[in-house]
Amino acid sequence: MATATPTTPVDGRAARRRAWARTREQLADFWRRFSKNRLAVVGGVVLLLVIIMGLFAPWIAPHDPTLPNFRNRFAPPAWMEGGSWEHPLGTDQLGRDMLSRIIWGARASLKVGAVVISFATVVGIFMGLVSGYYGGWVDVVIQRLSDILLAFPYLVLAIALMGVMGPGFGNLILALVYKEWVTPSRIVRGEVLAAKNVEYVEAARAVGARDRHIMWREILPNTFSSVIVVATLRVAWVILMEASLSFLGLGVQPPEPAWGSMIAQGREYIFSSWWLATFPGIAILLTVLGINLLGEGLRDALDPRLRE
């Protein structure tokens, strides 16, 4: 049998082909399990729509989201008395198109969510791996630091940080990342602790694998599903935090549209022109709900403990 194997340069291509076939098989397997959960698929579709809105905002949005039109302030949504399809969701207190602002607002929320979670996940994975794998005083230091960070209420400290550093995109990211990494790091640490003494890790050690190999190749791939699930669910949380900060005027700064600041501004007119605050609120609700449904679906489909 062994003679049948090509050990020529073609081998590299064959290996890649095999790897691709393997990946495809895994993806198909994942999709079979994921698609059974209808709610999760709905959540995924909602999130996908939001992402498309955010990515292609300049092409989708019918109007400039920051262009005021003082002759057409407080125009109601299209289906109400006095509304027109020119502004399907009406206009705000400065006569800006609500739909365009919500579409652009998706971009702000997603940008913050994606950047914060990416940073937090990378930092968290690293911290969790080191903390769990090496243990000892490294673990003690990282874990006590996490405890300290977790002891502060999220929003209060974010507000304080934003107050001190001043508003701005970089500062906003910083104010959210500084403790967001704790969640993925805890998850990874837990998985590492569990995997550290599993026999396949011992087997790798017994054949002389280095720590680096064991951490990155043996243990880390087995934490991916939890990390992906947690990252997804935390995006929703970060988007909420961003909206809260923007609501308080500490997040995304006007005139750039953000759902949080739109709610804050629309709040004053809630009794006369309810759509100013309601539509961005619905946007937040749907996005967060969609992400949560998707995240839970992912958890069910990816968690190997629920398999078999």
Binding site: M1, A2, A4, T5, T7, T8, P9, D11, G12, A15, R18, A21, R22, V140, V198, E199, Y200, E202, A203, A204, R205, A206, V207, G208, A209, H213, E218, P221, N222, P304, R307, E308
Partner: protein, 347 residues
């Protein structure tokens, strides 16, 4: 330590005469009980679990030594200490006459080519995210086999352990328990080791599969001249594969004998109890008296002095000496050693 070496030279003239593949002397593996950070801060004394406590064990080249004992007696800890998967707290492990406990990492890595382990749980011992090629190929990669040769070598190994070569790209969950164990064996054999620790290699398998795996292990031993340290709690398995048997109780070896001798005449009361518990199918003839031990082994956390089997010992002869003096492993000649005051006549 001196004792272990004496055993080697004494055997050298009379018995097989093969040099020791593996010796370890006075091996101790203690695990500090996880103390709270605060407790350590305030200088509380850390207690230790003495999983393996002063064990001497010599394995000669080409033989199979069976290590028996109940769960939690330190068999697996002993095995892992020998391979330095745990760092023992004291003692020495010599492989082909060379001390390995203080080898620098690079040399230890090279030596791992010669000593491998087969694990008990065929489900936990294979990384669920890796294919057979990745799993079996890892030791080859680490030992520096060129990349393009690995796949061919893995295919050869699959053939050796009796798996279809077409399964090379599969994942562990696509195999049965017996097949998974074969993958584990292929991985252990990949680097052509001299010495293999088999840590309960069949106890997680169905009885019908057990026989297949044991036969495979025996065939491989002949084919590759392997030396086995075979750990198990299953006495019928151990009697089948082992040349010599060491019986462990609570971190100590209490009896050492050639397999036939041990089964013909177990000396240590614990061994007697163990052997009497083997289920038999004999209808006629003498039925062995079943010895049912009272209680359970004491905790290995800072165990008291004296014989560790004292509490459960059923010998009429047991007395104060047993309670107070820790019996040493006494050489009775003919490869037989026992740690019991009553048997060794040191009461």
């Amino acid at each position: 330590m001196a004792e272990a070496q004496a055993a080697v030279s004494a055997r050298g003239g009379g018995g097989g005469g093969a040099p020791a593949a593996l010796e370890r002397g006075g091996l101790k593996a203690d695990f500090p009980l996880l103390a709270h950070f605060g407790e350590r801060l305030f200088g509380k004394k850390v207690r230790h679990v003495h999983a393996v406590d002063g064990v001497d064990l010599t394995v000669y080249r080409g033989e199979t030594v069976g290590l028996v004992g109940e769960s939690g007696c330190g068999k697996s800890t002993l095995a892992r200490s020998v391979l330095r998967l745990y760092q023992p707290t004291a003692g020495s492990v010599k492989f082909e006459g060379r001390e390995i406990l203080n080898l620098p990492p690079a040399e230890m890595r090279r030596l791992r080519k010669d000593m491998q382990i087969i694990f008990q749980d065929p489900f936990a011992s294979l990384n669920p995210r890796q294919t057979v090629e990745q799993i079996v190929g890892l030791p080859l990669r680490i030992q520096g086999v060129p990349k393009h040769e690995i796949r061919g070598r893995v295919l050869e190994l699959l053939e050796i352990v009796g798996l279809p070569p077409g399964h090379i790209d599969r994942f562990p969950h696509q195999f049965s328990g017996g097949q998974r164990q074969r993958i584990g064996i292929a991985r252990a054999l990949a680097v052509r080791p001299k010495f293999v620790v088999a840590d309960e290699p069949v106890s997680a398998l169905d009885v019908s599969i057990q026989a297949q795996i044991i036969n495979l292990l025996e065939r491989l031993q002949e084919e590759f001249g392997l030396t086995y340290l075979f750990i198990t709690h299953d006495l019928s398995v151990v009697s089948y594969v082992s040349d010599r048997i060491a019986v462990m109780y609570l971190g100590r070896i209490v009896e050492w004998a050639k397999t036939e001798d041990l089964f013909a005449e177990p000396l240590h009361p614990y061994t007697q109890a163990l052997l009497s518990a083997i289920p038999t199918v004999e209808r006629r003839g003498r039925r062995r008296e079943r010895i049912i031990l009272q209680g359970s082994p004491p905790t290995p956390i800072d165990p008291p002095g004296g014989c560790r089997f004292y509490e459960r010992c059923f010998l009429k002869e047991k007395n104060e000496t047993c309670r107070l003096v820790d019996p040493e492993l006494v050489d009775l000649g003919n490869g037989r050693k026992v740690a019991c005051h009553a048997v060794a006549g040191t009461l």
